[in-house]
C-alpha cells in the first residue's frame, strides 16, 4: 500500500541540503552544517514512524514508470518491507548522530560547507539505496554513494596519500560494480524484470515458468561481485584501509556503519535469488570466512588506530557475508545493525582521540583514560560489544551467526569464526590497553577531552550499542529474526548454549590475553613477533596483496595503454599515414622528399604518389623528340595489340 507520507522526501531532504550547500556553501559558512543536520533529523523523524508501522506488520510500496526497456516498463519507486525499514531505521539514526559529531570535529576546516554538502549527498544516496524497489535505482544510488566516498576520502586532497586513496577506492569498487551491472543485466535477460518484489514472486513461484538456473546463478554470482567491491570483501578489500585517509566522521559513517554495509544489504535484498542459485552460496560463505579471518589476522599487528578499526570492519563484514552465505538472513542483517552502532561508536571514539592528541599511531598514545574519560568509557563499551561480551548487542548478533554456522553443520566455518572472534577480542583490547592505559609514551602529546558536541553522540551511540541487541535476544524471544522471516523464508535454528559458551569463552580469552601481553608482560609481544617472524610480516604487510595488485594489474594496464598508444602512432597511423618504414624505404630508393612532404602531408598514399611523381616528372625531359618517341612507341604498342587481336 502507499505510505501515508511521501516517502520520496526522506532521501530528497538531504539532497536539498546538498544542493544548497554545494551552490551557496561559500556564503553559508558553518550554517551549512546546521542545514545538513536539520534535514537529516527531519528525514529521521519522517522515517521512524514509518519503520514503526512496518515493524507492526505494515508494508509500503509505490512506483511509477521511469523508462521503457524495449516493451518492458522500468518502474522506479520505494519498497518498505522489514529488511529496508530496519536499515532505514539504523541509517537515519546513526547518520544523524554522526553528522552532529562532525559539526564539532570539522570545526574550522576551510572546506567546512563542502564537507556537509558531500555528507548530505551521501545520506540521500544511502537512503535511496535502502528504500529503492529495483536494481537499477539501487545501482544508481549505489554509484552515487561510491562517488561520495570518493569525494570524502579525497577531502584532504592536498595530501597525495589521500588523492591516491580516493582514486583507489573508486576504481576498486568500480570493478565490483561492473560485476553488479552485468549481474542484473543477466537477471533481466533471465526473468525480464529488475523489480525486487516481481523478482521474488517470479522466482518463488517458479512452477509457472521454468527458470534458467544457470543464468540465475550467473546473475547471483555477478551481483555478489558488487558486494565484494562495496563491502570490501576479499579480494577487493584493499581500498577500505586506505580509505581511512578521509576525515574520521566519514570513516564512521561511510566506511563502517552504512555504505560498506550496503553490500551486505544487497545480498540480503537478492536473498531469494541467491536461494534459487544454490551453487553460489558456498562461494559467498567462502569469501566471507576468508575475509573475516584474514582481516582479523592483519588487524593484530597494525599500529594506526583507524587502520585497526578498518580491518576489524572488514572482518565483521566478512562475518555478515558468511552468515548470508549460510542463508542466515536474520543473523546477517542483525549483525549489520548492531555492528553499525558499535563500529560507528568506535570510529567516533578514535576520531575523538585523534582530535584530542593529533596522532594516530597507538604507539605514541597511552594513559589517555584519565585525560579523556567519556571517550575512553564509550570506546570500551563499544569494544566489549564488538568482542561479543553479553549482554551487549554484539554478543547476540555474533552469537546468531555462530549458531547458524554451527547448526547448519559447517563445523569448519564455525571453528574459523570462533578463532576470528578470539582474535577480534584480542586486537580490540590491545588497542584499548595501548591507547587508554599504561603511561603516556609520547611526552609531546597533550591530550584533552573533546567538546560536548562530540561526546554526546558518543554516549548516544553507546546506549544504542548496548540496547540494540535486545530485539534479537532471548529476552524478546528473537523477535527480530521472526520479523525478518516474515519477509523471506530461511532456516531458523534453536539457540544452543554450547555455541554461546564458546563465543563467550573466545571473547574473554582474547581480552585476558591482550591484558596480560600489553599491561603485564610487555616483552611477550616482541618475542612472539620474533618467534613467528614470517607470520608477523605476513600480517603486518597485509598479505602483500597491494603489492601484488600494483605489480600484476595496475602496472600492466598502464603498460598496455602505452604499448597500444605506440601502436596507434606508428602502425595504425603509419599504415595510412606512412610516417614509418614505407616512407623511409621509398625515400631511400630515391631522394625525393622535398619540403612539401616534410611540412605538408606525410601520408602513405601521398608518399607513394610522390615516389611515382619522381618518375613521371623525369619523363618530362623538355626534349621534344623524347615526347614524340613516347607517342610513337605508344602507337606501335597499340598497333601490335590490335594486330594480335585481329
Amino acid at each position: 500500500m502507499v505510505a501515508p507520507i511521501p516517502v520520496a522526501l526522506i532521501p530528497l531532504l538531504p539532497f536539498a541540503a546538498f544542493a544548497v550547500n554545494i551552490l551557496a556553501g561559500r556564503w553559508l559558512k558553518h550554517r551549512a552544517a546546521w542545514l545538513s543536520v536539520a534535514t537529516s533529523t527531519l528525514a529521521c523523524a519522517l522515517a521512524i514512524p514509518l519503520c514503526w508501522q512496518v515493524f507492526r506488520g505494515a508494508h509500503f510500496a509505490h512506483q511509477a514508470t521511469w523508462l521503457m526497456l524495449g516493451e518492458v516498463p522500468l518502474q522506479f519507486g520505494y519498497l518498505l518491507d522489514p529488511l529496508s525499514s530496519t536499515l532505514l531505521f539504523m541509517v537515519t539514526i546513526v547518520g544523524t548522530l554522526i553528522q552532529v559529531y562532525a559539526m564539532g570535529y570539522m570545526r574550522g576546516d576551510p572546506r567546512y560547507s563542502r564537507f556537509f554538502a558531500y555528507v548530505s549527498l551521501f545520506m540521500a544516496a544511502m537512503l535511496t539505496v535502502v528504500i529503492s524497489n529495483n536494481y537499477l535505482l539501487f545501482f544508481m544510488a549505489w554509484e552515487i554513494m561510491g562517488l561520495c566516498s570518493y569525494l570524502l576520502i579525497g577531502f584532504y586532497f592536498e595530501k597525495d596519500s589521500a588523492a591516491n586513496a580516493c582514486k583507489k577506492a573508486f576504481l576498486t569498487t568500480r570493478v565490483g560494480d561492473i560485476g553488479f551491472l552485468i549481474g542484473f543485466l543477466t537477471l533481466f535477460a533471465a526473468i525480464g524484470t529488475l523489480n525486487f518484489s516481481e523478482m521474488n514472486s517470479i522466482i518463488s513461484g517458479a512452477g509457472a515458468t521454468p527458470l534458467n538456473t544457470t543464468l540465475l546463478s550467473f546473475a547471483a554470482f555477478f551481483i555478489f561481485c558488487g558486494t565484494i567491491g562495496k563491502s570490501a570483501q576479499f579480494p577487493l578489500h584493499v581500498w577500505l584501509p586506505d580509505a581511512m585517509e578521509g576525515p574520521t566522521p566519514v570513516s564512521a559513517l561511510i566506511h563502517a556503519a552504512t555504505m560498506v554495509a550496503a553490500g551486505v544489504f544487497l545480498v540480503a535484498r537478492s536473498f531469494t535469488l541467491f536461494a534459487a542459485a544454490p551453487n553460489v552460496l558456498p562461494v559467498v560463505t567462502a569469501i566471507g570466512t576468508i575475509t573475516a579471518f584474514g582481516a582479523a589476522f592483519i588487524a593484530l599487528t597494525q599500529h594506526d588506530i583507524k587502520r585497526v578499526l578498518a580491518y576489524s570492519t572488514i572482518s565483521q563484514l566478512g562475518y555478515m557475508v558468511t552468515a548470508l552465505g549460510l542463508s542466515g538472513l536474520g543473523a546477517g542483517t542483525f549483525h549489520l545493525i548492531t555492528h553499525a552502532f558499535f563500529k560507528a561508536l568506535l570510529f567516533l571514539g578514535a576520531g575523538s582521540v585523534i582530535h584530542g592528541t593529533h596522532v594516530q599511531d597507538i604507539r605514541e598514545m597511552g594513559g589517555l583514560f584519565k585525560k579523556m574519560p567519556s571517550t575512553a568509557v564509550t570506546f570500551i563499551i563499544a569494544s566489549l560489544a564488538l568482542a561479543g561480551i553479553p549482554p551487549l548487542s554484539g554478543f547476540w548478533s555474533k552469537d546468531e551467526i555462530l549458531l547458524t554456522a554451527f547448526a547448519s553443520g559447517h563445523t569448519f566455518v564455525f571453528g574459523v569464526l570462533l578463532l576470528t572472534a578470539f582474535m577480534t577480542a584480542f586486537y580490540m583490547f590491545r588497542l584499548i590497553f595501548l591507547t587508554f592505559f599504561g603511561e603516556a609514551r609520547n611526552p609531546k602529546v597533550h591530550a584533552h577531552e573533546s567538546p560536548a558536541l562530540m561526546t554526546l553522540p558518543l554516549w548516544a551511540l553507546a546506549v544504542g550499542s548496548v540496547v540494540i541487541g535486545i530485539p534479537g535476544s532471548p529476552f524478546m524471544h528473537h523477535w527480530f529474526q521472526k520479523f525478518m522471516a516474515h519477509a523471506s523464508h530461511y532456516p531458523e535454528y534453536e539457540p544452543s548454549l554450547f555455541v554461546m559458551a564458546c563465543s563467550i569463552a573466545a571473547a574473554v580469552a582474547g581480552i585476558l590475553l591482550a591484558g596480560v601481553v600489553y599491561l603485564k608482560q610487555k616483552h611477550w609481544a616482541e618475542n612472539t613477533a620474533k618467534a613467528f617472524r614470517p607470520l608477523y610480516l605476513l600480517s603486518f604487510n597485509k598479505f602483500y596483496i597491494d603489492e601484488l595488485y600494483s605489480a600484476y594489474i595496475v602496472k600492466p594496464f598502464h603498460a598496455i595503454g602505452r604499448i597500444l598508444f605506440g601502436f596507434d602512432e606508428t602502425v595504425v597511423d603509419g599504415a595510412v599515414n606512412g610516417t614509418g618504414y614505407a616512407t623511409m624505404l621509398l625515400s631511400r630508393i630515391k631522394n625525393w622528399i622535398d619540403i612539401h612532404i616534410v611540412d605538408g602531408f606525410v601520408n602513405f598514399t601521398g608518399a607513394f604518389a610522390y615516389f611515382l611523381n619522381s618518375f613521371t616528372k623525369r619523363l618530362q625531359t623538355g626534349f621534344i623528340q623524347n615526347y614524340l618517341l613516347i607517342v610513337v612507341a605508344a602507337v606501335l604498342a597499340f598497333l601490335i595489340f590490335e594486330l594480335k587481336s585481329i
Binding site: I22, W66, L67, M68, L69, G70, E71, L136, F139, M140, A141, E143, I144, L147, G154, F157, E158, D160, A162, A163, N164, C166, K167, F170, L171, R174, V175, I178, L181, I182, L185, T186, F188, A189, F557, H558, I560, G561, R562, L564, F565, D568, V572, D573, A575, V576, N577, D599, G600, F601, V602, N603
Partner: protein, 487 residues
C-alpha cells in the same frame, strides 16, 4: 514560416555569414555579436520546431519538397524525425555555446565567424536533408570551413592536422558518393528520395557492396577503430570551440549516417555485417580506452576517450534491438554534451596556463575550486556515473548488446572501467595533490565560461534523472527503423 521552419534553421546561419561578410574587418565586436545573435536565433528556431514536432509519430515530418535538378530528379527535400531532430537540437545548442566560447578569438575574426556560420549551415543541412544528393552536398560543405578553422586558428601542427582531416574525410565521402550513385541507379524510378528509397528491395550482394561504400564514408567520420587516427591530431590542433563542434556534432554525423541511410537502405547487409560491426565497436571501446590511459596531453586524452565512447554508439547499432538503438541514439546526444563540455574545460585551463601537459598540473582543486567542481562533474558524467546522461545511454546500449551477445557485452564493460581509470587519473593529476607553485597565479573559471557550461550540465543532469524527456522523441522512429531492419 511554420511550413519552412527547417529551411529557416538551415539557412539562417548562411544569412548571418553574409551579414558578417559585409561588416568591415576591424569592427570585431559587431561581428561577434552578429554571429552570437544568429546562433541564438537558430536555437530559438529549433525550439519553435520542437513545438511543431509530434513525438508520437514515427515517420518524417515538417517535410519540405522542391525539385532542384529535374534531369536527375534531385530534390531539395528536407524533413526530420526522431533520429535527426535531436541532432538538430544538439547542433543548435553546441553551436551557440561554442560561439560564446569563440569570443576569445583574437586574429582574423571576420573570416573566423564567417566560416563558423557556414559550418553551422552545413551541419544543420546534413541532419535534415532527406535527398541523398542534397545530403552529400551538405556533408561536403562541412569539410571546407572545418579545414580553414583548424588550419588557420589551430595549434602548432595545425596545417598537418587540417589537411589530414580534410583528405581522410574526403576520401571516405567520395566512396560514399559512388555508393549513393549505385543506389540511385539501382532504384526504379531513379531517385535520391529517401522517402521512396526506403521501401525498395535490393539484392544482398549489391547491398553488401554499397553498404561498404557508405561505411567507409561514415566510419571515417565516427571514427571507427582503424580510421580514427585523424581524430587526435584534429582535436589537439583545433581551437577549443572547434574541438567542441568536432566532438559535439561532426562525429555524430557518421553514426547519424548509419541510422539514417545505411540501416534503412541496406537492412540485409546490416544484418550480415552485424558481427563485424560489433567487433569494431569493441575494438574501438577498449582500444580507445587503453590509449586514452596512456595520454599525457589533456586534450588528446579527451579525444581518445571519444573514440571509446563513440564505440558504444556503434555497439548499440550492432546490437540491432530496441534498447541498443535507443542507447546508441541517446549516447550520440549525451556524448555530444559531455565531451563538448570537457573540451570547453580543457580550453578554459589552456587559456590560463597555456599548457595541456597533465603531469605539469596538480593541486588546482584548491587554486580554482569552481573549475575543479565542474571538471569533476563532467569527468563523472563521462565515466558514466548514474543520474547523469552518460549512464543511461551506456546502460541501454549494454542491455541491448547483452541480448545480442554476452561476450561482447562483457568485453565492452572493460571500456567502462577504463573510462573510470583514465578520467580519475586525469582528475588526480590536474586537481588533486600539492599545488604546483607555477600555477599559483591561475584565476578561477569566470562567469562567461560557466555560462557556456551550465546549459550542458543542466542537460546532462536532466537526461540522467529522467531520460524520457528526450527518449520519448526518439522511440517511435527507432522502433519503426527496427521493423525495417529486422523485416
Amino acid at each position: 514560416m511554420a511550413s519552412h521552419i527547417l529551411s529557416w534553421i538551415v539557412f539562417t546561419p548562411l544569412l548571418g555569414a553574409f551579414a558578417v561578410l559585409f561588416v568591415p574587418q576591424r569592427s570585431t565586436h559587431l561581428i561577434k555579436w552578429i554571429t552570437l545573435s544568429t546562433t541564438i536565433v537558430v536555437f530559438g528556431l529549433a525550439c519553435v520546431a520542437l513545438g511543431f514536432f509530434q513525438a508520437s509519430q514515427g515517420g518524417f515530418q515538417m517535410i519540405e519538397r522542391a525539385l532542384w535538378i529535374p534531369q536527375f530528379n534531385v530534390q531539395y527535400l528536407l524533413g526530420t524525425d526522431g533520429i535527426s531532430f535531436p541532432m538538430v537540437f544538439l547542433t543548435a545548442i553546441i553551436s551557440l555555446l561554442a560561439c560564446l566560447g569563440s569570443f576569445g578569438i583574437k586574429e582574423r575574426e571576420k573570416e573566423y565567424f564567417f566560416l563558423y556560420l557556414l559550418l553551422e549551415t552545413g551541419m544543420m543541412g546534413t541532419f535534415v536533408a532527406l535527398d541523398l544528393f542534397l545530403f552529400y552536398v551538405f556533408w561536403e560543405v562541412v569539410l571546407v570551413p572545418m579545414y580553414f578553422l583548424i588550419g588557420i586558428w589551430g595549434g602548432p601542427r595545425r596545417e598537418y592536422a587540417a589537411i589530414k582531416f580534410f583528405l581522410y574525410t574526403l576520401a571516405g565521402s567520395l566512396f560514399m558518393l559512388l555508393g549513393i550513385l549505385g543506389v540511385y541507379f539501382a532504384a526504379s524510378p531513379h531517385t535520391f528520395d529517401m522517402t521512396q528509397l526506403v521501401g525498395m528491395t535490393r539484392g544482398l550482394w549489391f547491398q553488401k557492396v554499397v553498404f561498404l561504400a557508405f561505411f567507409l564514408g561514415f566510419a571515417i567520420k565516427v571514427p571507427i577503430f582503424p580510421f580514427h587516427t585523424w581524430l587526435p591530431d584534429a582535436h589537439v590542433e583545433a581551437p577549443t570551440p572547434i574541438s567542441v563542434i568536432l566532438a559535439g556534432v561532426l562525429l555524430k554525423m557518421g553514426t547519424y549516417g548509419f541510422f539514417r541511410f545505411s540501416y534503412p537502405l541496406f537492412p540485409d547487409a546490416a544484418v550480415w555485417f552485424q558481427p563485424a560491426m560489433a567487433v569494431l565497436a569493441i575494438l574501438g571501446i577498449v582500444y580507445g580506452g587503453f590509449v586514452a590511459l596512456a595520454q599525457t596531453d589533456f586534450k588528446k586524452m579527451v579525444a581518445y576517450s571519444s573514440v571509446s565512447h563513440m564505440g558504444f554508439v556503434l555497439l548499440g547499432l550492432a546490437a540491432m534491438n530496441a534498447n541498443g538503438f535507443r542507447g546508441a541514439m541517446l549516447q550520440m546526444f549525451t556524448h555530444g554534451t559531455i565531451t563538448g563540455g570537457l573540451f570547453l574545460l580543457v580550453g578554459v585551463l589552456y587559456d590560463r596556463a597555456h599548457s595541456r601537459d597533465l603531469n605539469g598540473f596538480g593541486g588546482l582543486g584548491a587554486q580554482m575550486p569552481a573549475y575543479a567542481g565542474i571538471l569533476t562533474f563532467f569527468s563523472l558524467a563521462s565515466l558514466g556515473l548514474p543520474a547523469m546522461s552518460g549512464f543511461v545511454s551506456e546502460f541501454l546500449v549494454l542491455l541491448g548488446s547483452y541480448q545480442y551477445s554476452k561476450v561482447v557485452t562483457g568485453l565492452s564493460t572493460l571500456g567502462i572501467i577504463l573510462a573510470a581509470t583514465y578520467l580519475l587519473y586525469m582528475v588526480q593529476r590536474v586537481l588533486l595533490g600539492k599545488l604546483n607553485p607555477k600555477w599559483a597565479a591561475l584565476t578561477d573559471i569566470n562567469f562567461k565560461e560557466v555560462l557556456t557550461l551550465a546549459p550542458l550540465m543542466v542537460l546532462i543532469l536532466a537526461i540522467g534523472v529522467y531520460p524520457r524527456i528526450i527518449l520519448d522523441y526518439m522511440i517511435p522512429t527507432l522502433d519503426a527503423l527496427l521493423k525495417i531492419v529486422k523485416g
